[in-house]
Symmetry: C2
Subunit: 259 residues, 2 copies
């Protein structure tokens, strides 16, 4: 099995440029949001006030490129694909951000649901979007996050159809991971959290909910991206959906972290 | 029993200007550190990297004076005594900071050990410094905190002598409160964490350790104050030791908080 350090090397050399879903499953993968220093305090506060959607696991100081969670890593090259936003608008997808790196860029690494998904699979809870090799379905809700400075917006959730008899198990497994979005935000009727058309996700791809399944909704790491887009920062960089930063920390190590 | 809101009113009118130890025991009391906006991101990152010593429970945006944890509160007046530092040096003690308030001041509220102390007392673990009406003894250790920007320094710990047969109980009670410094950093021989003269605390007052007692050391909310002093900020304001900010949140509510 490939180690995180060897895998990051492949990514850095652009030999691997796809989704990281399913790779290095024992290790924590992270969402990335980069903002200029000027906005870093407000964004940090936004994540603090909305920890369930934005569980920060590391912050790199202005201009710093190595994460404390990943030895000899370089945040400018070690993600397969990046998205660049200007004035809140998506501009382009790139495989390295070395050319546009600035000394005042602050990188936030945010926990991601791959961690609890790998735990659910180990416990024999089938996850349809993975079986169908689809991106998980994500929705904007009518639940407002707590604003901070220019950052605000709706809570974004991911949805997974789970067999009725496994709902309790899926809930308790994910509750074990507060740093990875934790337990469900909502179980059942999508309308109750403002989702009118479940077949039309705002991000990702829809997977059907069978009669013996219940839709379960979890806070999603796209929430802080959406807030940063709303804030219309002159520049902001994120990972491309599904193309995550892979750390050296096992899921278990992060779970037991005691700082 | 006086409510937090009524007690804050008395403090605001300077009818109460003493230590808040023992008041509103069911409610969370907090340490205060105020820094100018320019340093707020780095200080926030310092607290994030040293969560055991610096468990942030609320952050007020630049110029904001009301905490989300305390309705109609005013951080400029609702603490009995403040300490003002200039260039890292203690300048004076005041009962209000209205006169020197600036629109770029960012206030950090940090969990305090009063919460777990009230829990220990309820469980019949005697706390000698409280019985003797002394300030708890605090020490600089040889454990370095993780630096962030200009903030760095040693971990500061508080010490409480606990009867041998109650050590396990005191440990497990405090572990229940990760947002209030959590479990002990060290149990037993002070020399192992670099404390050479246990009779001479760096802050607070020494209480004797009897033959049937063991010294237990917990991470202490003075740690971030010491780091901010080291950083020699042009201005920084803290509460005076023991003179805390009282929130509307019960200890139980904070324990079960799920953001």
């Amino acid at each position: 099995m490939i180690t995180p350090v060897a895998f990051r090397q492949q990514i850095r050399e652009q030999q691997f440029t796809s989704s990281t879903a399913g790779y290095c499953q024992e290790f924590v993968q992270a969402n990335l949001v980069i903002v200029p220093k000027q906005y870093a305090f407000d964004f940090f506060l936004y994540t603090f006030r909305n920890q369930k959607a934005c569980p920060v696991i590391d912050v790199l100081e202005p201009g710093q490129v190595e994460s404390l969670l990943a030895k000899a890593s370089d945040i400018r090259t070690d993600i397969p694909k990046y998205h660049i936003y200007e004035g809140g608008t998506f501009e382009k997808e790139v495989e390295s951000i070395e050319a546009i790196w600035e000394d005042d860029f602050v990188s936030f690494l945010i926990g991601c649901s791959f961690t609890f998904e790998s735990e659910m699979i180990k416990t024999n809870i089938p996850l349809k979007h993975i079986e169908l090799q689809k991106n998980v379905a994500m929705y904007q809700t009518n639940i407002e996050t707590v604003a901070a400075g220019p950052f605000s917006g709706p809570l974004v959730v991911s949805m997974r159809p789970i067999k009725k008899e496994l709902v309790q198990l899926a809930t308790s497994i994910t509750e074990k991971y507060p740093q990875m979005h934790g337990g469900p935000v909502h179980i059942g009727d999508p309308a109750q959290i403002g989702i009118s058309e479940i077949e039309k996700p705002d991000y990702g791809e829809y997977v059907e909910i069978a009669d013996d399944e219940v839709p379960i909704f979890w806070a999603c790491g796209v929430t802080p991206q959406a807030a940063a887009q709303n804030a219309k920062l002159p520049i902001m960089i994120t990972h491309a959906p599904g193309h995550m930063f892979i750390t050296d920390w096992t899921n278990e190590e992060l779970l037991n972290k005691d700082s």
